[in-house]
Amino acid sequence: MTEQSKAEAMAVADLEQVYDALAEAIDRAGEAHDRLFLTKLVLLLANRCGDRQAVLEAIDAALQDL
C-alpha cells in the first residue's frame, strides 16, 4: 500500500479533525506567517512520510486546478 493510498484511506472523522486543526493553525499563524507555516508543515510531513515519490506526487496533485 503506498503512502498516498494510506492517506486516502484515512477515516472521515480523522480527516475532519485534521481539516479543523489545519484551518485553526493557519488562522493562528496569521496572514503574515501562513505561507511559512504551511511550508514548514509540508517539510515535516514529508520527513515523517519518508517516501519521496509520494511527496512529489502530492505536490503535483496540489498544483492542479489552482
Binding site: R35, T39, K40, L43
Partner: protein
C-alpha cells in the same frame, strides 16, 4: 604605454614588495620562441609554471602588475590544494602560517542549528581546510619561481593582443618601455575572472549569474574564537541574508555579507554603510574589541564555465576558464586542480611523450569538473541566496524548523571544493574497482611513519603500484621501465609488500595489509597512477602488456 602602479599597496598586516619591470630580451631585439607563455602571475599561473618546470619545461610568466594581489582574496585552501602545492614546493612554507580547520557552524537566531566536521583521515598529511591570505601564497610561489632557472617572471607586462594562434602563438605585450611581441609554442591564460585573453578570443561562458551582491571585508581584530566556518542566517541587522566569518592568520578576520536587494556596490562600500554593518555583525556575536578595516570588495555569485578550455594553442585555467561561487572555497582550489591536470599533459605534448589529444582530455576532464562543481554550488547558492519566492520560502521554513527539528540540518551542508574524480576520462582503462579509489579518482595518501607520507615521495611521473606478498623479481618490469624512460615517459614502480620488515622506497612494507585494504587491492593486483596522482587503471592481476597499453591510452597515444 602600460604604467603599473608602483607604490606598494596598503595593508595592515602584509608588506608589499615591488618587483620592478625589467626590459625583456625581445625589447633589445633578441627573438626567442618560448615553449610556454603564461598570462597572469596569480596562484594558478605560478603553480603551473612551477609544475611545468618539474618536467623540465621552460615558461615565461607575464604579469601586468608589479606586486602580488591586493587584499586577501582566496583565503581557504583545501587538503587537495595543499597536496598540489606540496608538489610544487610551497606547502611547507604555507603551513608555517596557515590555520588548519575542519568544522563549520550554521547559526540562526543565536542558536547553532547545524555543525559539520569535514572528515579527516589520519593517513592524510593535511587537514581538510587551511586559511591563509592569497598574498602569502603568491609570495611563496614567486620566491619558488625565482629559484627556478626554467621560469622567467616578467612583471609590469600587460597582455594586449593575440596576434597569432596557428602553429605557434604570438602575443602583443605592453610595458613601461613600450610594446613588444613575444613568440611561444603555447599560451596558457591564467589571467583571472576578467581574462583579457578570453575577451580577445571573444569566448562566452555558459551558466548562471545569481542575483545578489556580497561584500567581503577583512578587519584587524582580536577575537577569541576557533578557526571554524561561521555562517549566520537571517541576522536581525541584515534580514533574510547570510553572513560568513572566517579567521585568517596575522590577526585578521574575514566578514562576508550579502547586500539587501537593489543596493549598488558603490552604496555598499560607503564608509558609513560598511562600518555600521561590520559593527552590527560584531555586536550580534557579542564582540566589543576595537577593529580596523584592512580591505574590502564587492562580488556577485556566478556559476559559469567556458565550454572548452582549449582553443588550438591557447589553454585556459582558473578563473579565466570558470567563475564559481566563492562561498564553497571553489575559486583558487578548483584552479589549482586545473593547473595540476594541465602541467603534465602540456609537458608530455611538448616533449613528445604524450599525444596532442592529451590536451583535449585536459578540457574534457576539467570542464566536467567545473560543471559538477556548478551543479553542487547551485544547491548551496540556492540556500544562501534564494533566487525566487519559492526558494526563499523553503529556506525560511528550513531556518524556522532548524531550531527544533534536527532533520533539516543537512540542508545547511556547505559542500566545499573537493578533488574531482575523472570517472569518464578517455585516459582511463583497466578493470573495474570493487573497493578502494575508483579509476579516475585521486590516490589516497598513506602515513608511512612520523611525518612521512606516500605523497611526499611522489614526483611528476606515472606510478605503477604493485601489491604482493614480497617484491616481484620480474625482468619484464625493468624492461618496461627502461623502454618507457627511453621514450621520455617518466615512469616509476612502487611495490607494497606484506612480507617486508621496513620501508625502503620504492618498496613499502605493509605487514598488516593496511595499505592494500585502503586501495582495495588484493595480492597480485596493480594500480597505475598518472603524474597528477589520479588513478588511470587498475588490474586484479598484473599483466605487463596491459600496463603498457594503459600507459599509451593515458598518454593519448593509443592510436
Amino acid at each position: 604605454m602600460h604604467t603599473p602602479d608602483s607604490s606598494p599597496r596598503a595593508s595592515l598586516y602584509y608588506d608589499y614588495k615591488i618587483h620592478p619591470f625589467k626590459p625583456a630580451p625581445e625589447q633589445r631585439g633578441e627573438q626567442t620562441r618560448h615553449p610556454v607563455a603564461v598570462v597572469g602571475a596569480g596562484p594558478i599561473g605560478l603553480a603551473l609554471a612551477l609544475d611545468l618546470a618539474r618536467y623540465g619545461v621552460a615558461s615565461v610568466v607575464l604579469e601586468a602588475d608589479v606586486q602580488v594581489s591586493e587584499g586577501s582574496r582566496a583565503i581557504v585552501f583545501t587538503r587537495r590544494s595543499m597536496e598540489i602545492l606540496q608538489q610544487v614546493g610551497v606547502a611547507e612554507r604555507m603551513m608555517e602560517d596557515a590555520l588548519p580547520w575542519r568544522s563549520g557552524n550554521s547559526i540562526y537566531r543565536g542558536q547553532r542549528v547545524f555543525r559539520m566536521e569535514a572528515p579527516y583521515d589520519p593517513d592524510d598529511r593535511y587537514q581538510p581546510m587551511h586559511n591563509l591570505q592569497q598574498q602569502y601564497l603568491e609570495q611563496y610561489l614567486v620566491e619558488q619561481c625565482e629559484q627556478q632557472s626554467l621560469i622567467e617572471l616578467r612583471w609590469g607586462t600587460r597582455f594586449v593582443e593575440l596576434l597569432r594562434n596557428d602553429d605557434q602563438v604570438e602575443l602583443l605585450l605592453d610595458t613601461p618601455e613600450g610594446e613588444y611581441s613575444l613568440q611561444a609554442d603555447w599560451l596558457v591564460a591564467c589571467d583571472g575572472a576578467r581574462s583579457p585573453v578570453r575577451s580577445q578570443l571573444g569566448l562566452r561562458m555558459d551558466g548562471a549569474s545569481y542575483t545578489g551582491n556580497f561584500v567581503i571585508a577583512d578587519i584587524k581584530i582580536d577575537i577569541d574564537l576557533p578557526t571554524e566556518r561561521l555562517a549566520f542566517f537571517d541576522p536581525d541587522w541584515n534580514p533574510g541574508n547570510t553572513v560568513l566569518m572566517h579567521r585568517e592568520p596575522h590577526g585578521i578576520w574575514r566578514l562576508d555579507y550579502q547586500l539587501p536587494a537593489g543596493e549598488t556596490p558603490e552604496q555598499a562600500l560607503q564608509p558609513e554603510s560598511l562600518y555600521g554593518r561590520i559593527q552590527a555583525q560584531l555586536d550580534m556575536v557579542g564582540i566589543d574589541a576595537p577593529w580596523q578595516l584592512d580591505w574590502c570588495s564587492v562580488y556577485s555569485a556566478r556559476a559559469m564555465t567556458l565550454p572548452d578550455y582549449r582553443h588550438n594553442r591557447v589553454l585556459f585555467a582558473g578563473d579565466a576558464a570558470h567563475m564559481l561561487p566563492i562561498f564553497g572555497v571553489r575559486g583558487a582550489n578548483t584552479g589549482l586542480q586545473d593547473s595540476q591536470n594541465l602541467a603534465w599533459k602540456l609537458a608530455a605534448r611538448i616533449q613528445g611523450w604524450g599525444g596532442d589529444v592529451l590536451l583535449n582530455s585536459y578540457s574534457h576532464e576539467r570542464v566536467g569538473a567545473a560543471r559538477e562543481i556548478i551543479e553542487e554550488a547551485g544547491k548551496s547558492t540556492r540556500f544562501m541566496t534564494p533566487p525566487s519566492n519559492g526558494y526563499r520560502l523553503l529556506r525560511d521554513a528550513t531556518l524556522s524548523l532548524s531550531l527544533s527539528q534536527p532533520f533539516v540540518g543537512p540542508l545547511f551542508h556547505w559542500r566545499t571544493s573537493r578533488a574531482h574524480d575523472y570517472l569518464d576520462s578517455p585516459l582511463n582503462s583497466g578493470d573495474k574497482a570493487d573497493n578502494g579509489p575508483l579509476t579516475g579518482a585521486p590516490l589516497q595518501n598513506i602515513r608511512l611513519a612520523e611525518s612521512d607520507y606516500l605523497f611526499d615521495h611522489l614526483g611528476g611521473a606515472f606510478y605503477l603500484m604493485l601489491f604482493a606478498e614480497r617484491p616481484l623479481d620480474e625482468p619484464g618490469l625493468q624492461l618496461l621501465q627502461q623502454r618507457l624512460q627511453q621514450e621520455g615517459v617518466p615512469f616509476e614502480i612502487v611495490q607494497i609488500c606484506r612480507d617486508l620488515e621496513q620501508n625502503d622506497w620504492p618498496l613499502l612494507a605493509d605487514p598488516d595489509g593496511r595499505i592494500a585494504a585502503k586501495y582495495g587491492a588484493a595480492d597480485g593486483s596493480a594500480l597505475l597512477a598518472r603524474p597528477d596522482q589520479h588513478l588511470c587503471a587498475r588490474w586484479s592481476q598484473l599483466d605487463l602488456d596491459r600496463v603498457e597499453k594503459a600507459i599509451r591510452i593515458a598518454l593519448g597515444k593509443s592510436n
